[in-house]
Symmetry: none
Subunit: 209 residues, 4 copies
């Protein structure tokens, strides 16, 4: 879960025995817990690393030793919980899967503090190019991969034309959601989900129409 571990993946199976005192799990857990707690209380922008360290009863250096920036820390504290709320649906139909996925997303950002955190993270990502890449690797890519399965399964079933670009479908469906989340110009509710799914099915659903 630690940021630096995830970047280096598990590509060094036989380490040459690292020296020095190892990182403490308790410290790491305390930092992530404090971060998660603060993210429930206020927006990412209103949180300082100083505050996280104080809340976690941890030295500031112990935070900086593990995470290079507030954004990567928040990403770690946010990621697991968010992903857990986006189960890969498999209802047997494109309509069902897409509705389920979009609805899960909508409910998460609407009904939990994760909506605010997600907005804060996207904002943070815009101000830190390094974080942007991590964000794509650690959040955008995995979530999209899961959602892409929905479209690919539909293609395999013949529900949508094989000429369709799955990426565009994903960008349309979730892009609309993020658009409303960030601007707040319209509601993110079940009606929104239904309309989006309907339009996209009409567009792609040669066999489904």
């Amino acid at each position: 879960m630690l940021w630096c571990n995830l970047v280096t993946d598990g590509d060094i199976p036989s380490g040459p025995a690292k020296k020095g005192r190892p990182f403490s799990d308790a410290t790491e857990r305390a930092i992530l817990a404090a971060t998660a707690q603060l993210l429930e209380e206020k927006g990412l922008a209103d949180i300082s690393i100083e505050e996280v360290a104080t809340r976690a009863r941890v030295g500031k250096a112990s935070v900086y030793r593990r995470w290079p920036s507030k954004g990567t820390l928040a990403l770690d504290a946010f990621e697991a919980e968010f992903i857990a709320r986006q189960p890969p649906p498999d209802t047997g139909s494109l309509r069902g899967d897409l509705t389920a996925a979009l609805r899960a997303w909508v409910r998460t950002v609407n009904d939990t503090p994760m909506g605010r955190t997600l907005r804060g993270l996207i904002a943070e990502v815009q101000r830190d190019p390094a974080l942007r890449e991590i964000w794509r690797e650690r959040f955008v890519t995995p979530v999209r991969a899961q959602h892409r399965l929905i479209v690919e399964r539909a293609m395999a079933r013949g529900e949508i034309s094989p000429a369709t670009d799955p990426e565009i479908i994903l960008d349309l469906a979730f892009g609309a959601g993020y658009h409303r989340l960030l601007n707040g110009h319209a509601a993110l509710d079940d009606a929104f989900v239904k309309k989006v799914v309907t339009v996209l099915l009409a567009a792609t659903g040669a066999s489904g129409g």
Copy 2:
């Protein structure tokens, strides 16, 4: 153009003759010019009001007197130039109008520093609830109103079903664009524009085809 003027609209046509030295146009222009210049040089997040005032050879108070926050100032410096690059298209067809509008947006954010500024503004908007409302009033609403005309004209022409929700069409088309702009997970090019338009036309053109 001044932020406070725009909020109060022009609803005080006959002021009771205000006392004291009036605001200096030169000061205002210097501040906006400095802001625009800095926005070309770096992201909004890397700009401080202190720096704007120094660059404009103006006191900090003269900035705060006019704009309550960095976001509103940046919005003012950004708005006019951005809108000027989004001409209301009228090609006679939904496909043509939508392609033109989306392409104008894509080219603006791709080929000018305004892409970065737009990202910075959206980020800023997430950390300042007051700015969020102004952002909707001053940017989201007018731009969407212009784009909505495209859909409404298409409806009037019978190109799309009157049951279609124009808002959803706009959110799908531009939401996808903003999604790629903010995450950077895929290209924002003419191919993107073409695919988006194709999918949306297929979706809405049921009655028209």
Copy 3:
């Protein structure tokens, strides 16, 4: 009293009217009062600028704007009070003047917290070459000048040989005092003063006795 003022002396009688908000006297007084208060409580080494600012209810920058280092600040807080306790004696005899001056010094460092502060300042001076120069200009030189008068008056009276180097007399008399103050290897009391004066008078009184 302000550090930077004292360096530039009063050699700019007609300033060209400086711009901006001037330094606040209240702020300066609060900082010096907090420093003096802390110096009564503990040694200079145990005081941090952070603590001074907090105690003075002042921003850290307001301290750094005026004093470049903890040492210069402490010097300012210490100087006036110390000098006030070293009145220029004029008893009419070398023995009387020297005894009075040395006794005043001994009592100050023995009976007041200024002894500890003086030790702390001398320590601080060793670790900061810039402070060392200021220390000489602002403390060593003026105090020595006052004490040198004692020797010069004695010379004028014929009490000591004109061949005597007044500097050596001062270094012997007060050097011995500082030596005991810093090392603590022997008492700093009236007996010490008496013995020092006796030895020095015996040494210099060849022509007088």
Copy 4:
């Protein structure tokens, strides 16, 4: 040479045979060498224990296991070399002995990096009461004992009155030197030595004058 050894003296001749791995001489030597090297490069105040350990390729704990503070470590690294340069003079006359001793001291602090180290140690001693006691025991007392011999021999020879307090003579002679060393207000050269000796001989040398 090790700090803790010196404090406990050799008063436990028959230890109960201590268990565990004994201290490594190589480690101790590496630490002292690194300290001495750093003291040649910069002042004691600019050296951190962290740096000593790194330079000595030694764990920080191995330093703290042997010395309780930076001051005691520096004292150990400094002491032997300094003492070696202060040979007990025995020229047969007070003038000769005093001149030799003071000159040796002046040359050491003037011509070697030990002058700066001595200043740094005296500064360190002011901020650490525990170190102050050690400083007296380990440095002030032995050096003074050696110098006191000079005065006592002169008394035995009848060069100075038996009523003279040898302590005062030492404080006058070396106090003046330390005064100039710490304040830097006047030169520490042979002329200084000569003048000091002349004054003190005149003061005490009833039989010598």
